[in-house]
């Protein structure tokens, strides 16, 4: 049978995942010294790692060309999920938050609010849940700029320490939801290769509990 294929989100989640895999005894030297290769063997070829951008991890897993993926909950919320989300890996922690100019009340009044976000679906769903009709503008780069320039009343964005917000005179109005990295699995793969995938997930869960 083919080795299980796992898609990793490039960057910090990749490093954390590698640390976790090494902790449970898989040799990840091929990932550490990857050069320009994109598909890399893990351990004794027990599985293959694919390095991809976050949203692509979701795409590859949905289509079943990768059996498993490690991706942030932020990407899952923004891109929807027709896959299984089987484990909270515990790293990559931060939160989605609604933030706006310091001291300026956001709620109240009847004018329609404009929200800038890199995550328009998350922003829309959040306000739908409140029964609030808002206008969402998609911004690709530093979202904090939008309220400073007067384009938006507030932003929905990932917040880790809140330092960038503070430096720009913004503050968190409300937490939307907490975020962390997740292990996701393709629907068919989990059914067809249950034993392998559950065993790996169980080992990862145990190792993560011990702290990385």
């Amino acid at each position: 049978m083919k080795p299980l294929r796992i898609a990793l989100t490039k960057g910090r989640l990749e490093k954390d995942t590698v640390a976790l895999l090494e902790k449970i005894g898989y040799d990840c030297s091929a990932i550490r010294e990857k050069g320009r290769r994109l598909i890399l063997p893990v351990g004794n070829h027990e599985f293959e790692a694919v390095l991809a951008k976050a949203a692509d991890v979701v795409t590859y897993v949905e289509h079943g060309v990768c059996d498993l993926g490690v991706v942030g909950k932020d990407t899952i919320l923004e891109n929807g999920n027709s896959f299984y989300e089987i484990l909270d890996l515990g790293f990559g922690r931060c939160r989605f938050a609604l933030a706006g100019p310091k001291g300026k009340p956001f709620y109240g009044g009847y004018s329609i609010r404009t929200i800038a976000s890199k995550y328009p679906n998350v922003a829309r769903a959040f306000f739908e849940g409140k029964g609030m009709d808002v206008q969402v503008i998609k911004i690709e780069g530093s979202v904090e700029l939008a309220p400073l320039l007067g384009l938006a009343d507030a932003i929905v964005d990932l917040v880790e320490t809140g330092a960038t917000l503070r430096e720009n005179g913004l503050e968190v109005i409300e937490t939307v939801c907490p975020i962390s990295a997740r292990l996701i699995a393709n629907t068919a793969s989990l059914k067809l290769r249950k034993r392998e995938i559950e065993a790996l997930a169980a080992r990862m869960e145990q190792a993560k509990g011990d702290g990385i």
Binding site: E62, G64, G80, E85, A185, A188, K191, L192
Partner: protein, 403 residues
């Protein structure tokens, strides 16, 4: 002005040669199984009123449907699902037939998918509906037909069986409101263990909470039933487990044991399905290739309450698999090109008829000259050219490349 004359809309594609062959192979194999089980074919319109697919009862969201209006401004959809029209037609036109009614169909369904995800908006489904029969024997008939249908196309699939009532019974034992229940259902469908745990943590302890927590993990072989039995209290859940065990063992005794699994966490469209639910998976395809179950409430929505069970197969997925396994290939070049010389068309057609009657695939040359006919035959990879004149002259060509 920009025109879109040379491309097809996203989510659609042309099928060429071997792709058509693969699709027809699957359609024929499945139709053969269905009709040998006594199912009769029906075709429903490609356009239906939106009301037939009311999202409340169909579970198909408004966003997914292709909509247009008719001349009187009424909302029309391009068929997004095959079962609802069949329920409509059974309820309205087949009331007087002896029950159960066995129907099958092969037709495309249309769903509008989000942009650039690589999913098809047009997909051919073929499936059966067994309407007007409830109970174990009807469920078994649908399951056996499903397994035999897939077997007729491809080895190496897994069919998993669950029961919509199991989740409902468990949820009934929890102190939750409607929206929490739906959240739990969604988390189980997505096998989102972390979110499910977090929600259940707020509900305190108790056996129902513990059972619900395990529910998405309760898939696999017979051991699943054992574990479920140890977790469950309540007559209803225990009854459902016994029922699933009976189905599972019966399928095993029929020699289908290798292809059948259980999944108690099958909670898709939980308001639509009322009893047994099942889906099938195969290697190298990331989604279910067959989905089905019992839907006893649906016919009632069309004014003729009747139990019913059925399933739909994703023809394109099976066809793609056949192609990748190289079980079908492009139709070969014709064996013979017949070129009628000036004034000998009648003889040419007679030659073609007799060759075709012997089972040879042959083309009639539409060229004016012998040279053009030969050039074409070489390019097309035809081995033999017959020039029909006062005599018949046979020219054999080296095997060239095929087009």
């Amino acid at each position: 002005m920009k025109t879109y004359r040379k491309i097809t809309p996203e989510g659609t594609r042309d099928l060429l040669f071997e792709e058509c062959q693969a699709r027809r192979t699957v359609e024929r194999a499945l139709a053969e199984v269905f009709s040998s089980h006594g199912f009769k074919e029906v075709v429903t319109p490609g356009l239906e009123f939106y009301d037939v697919f009311d999202p409340e009862s169909s579970g198909i969201s408004q966003e997914e449907m292709y909509k247009l209006t008719d001349r009187r401004g009424r909302l029309i959809v391009v068929r997004p699902d095959a079962t609802l029209p069949i329920a409509r037609l059974t309820a309205t036109r087949l009331q007087n037939l002896p029950k159960p009614v066995r129907l099958y169909y092969t037709q495309p369904v249309y769903r509008s998918n989000p942009n650039l995800t690589g999913r098809s908006d047009e997909s051919v489904q073929t499936g059966i509906e067994l309407i007007g029969a409830g109970g174990r024997r009807a469920d078994l008939e649908a399951l056996v037909t499903a397994v035999e249908a897939l077997r007729a196309c491809l080895p190496g699939f897994r069919l998993e069986i669950g029961h919509a009532g199991f989740f409902r019974a468990l949820a009934g034992q929890l102190p939750v409101n409607e929206s929490q229940r739906e959240d739990i259902r969604r988390f189980i469908e997505a096998k989102n263990y972390p979110a499910l745990d977090a929600l259940l943590d707020t509900l305190g302890g108790g056996p129902a909470v513990a059972a619900m927590r395990r529910l998405p993990r309760l898939f696999g072989g017979e051991e699943v039933l054992e574990e479920a039995r140890s977790l469950c209290v309540g007559e209803q859940t225990v009854g459902i487990l016994a029922y699933l065990q009976d189905l599972y063992e019966t399928l095993g005794s029929l020699g289908f044991g290798d292809s059948v699994m259980l999944d108690l966490g099958l909670v898709q469209r939980n308001d639509y399905y009322t009893g047994v639910v099942f889906s099938a998976y195969m290697e190298d395809y990331g989604d279910a290739v067959l989905l089905g179950g019992r839907y006893d409430h649906l016919l009632g929505l069309f004014g003729a309450p009747m139990p019913a069970v059925g399933f739909a197969v994703q023809v394109d997925a099976l066809a793609r698999r056949l192609l990748s396994l190289q079980k079908v290939s492009a139709p070969p070049a014709p064996e013979v090109l017949v070129h009628s010389c000036e004034g000998f068309e009648k003889e040419g057609f007679a030659e073609l008829s007799s060759l075709r009657a012997q089972g040879h695939r042959c083309e009639h040359s539409v060229f004016d000259t012998r040279e053009e006919a030969l050039v074409y035959a070489r390019a097309r990879g035809v081995r033999e050219v017959l020039f029909v004149g006062a005599q018949v002259e046979r020219v054999l060509l080296e095997r060239g490349g095929t087009l």
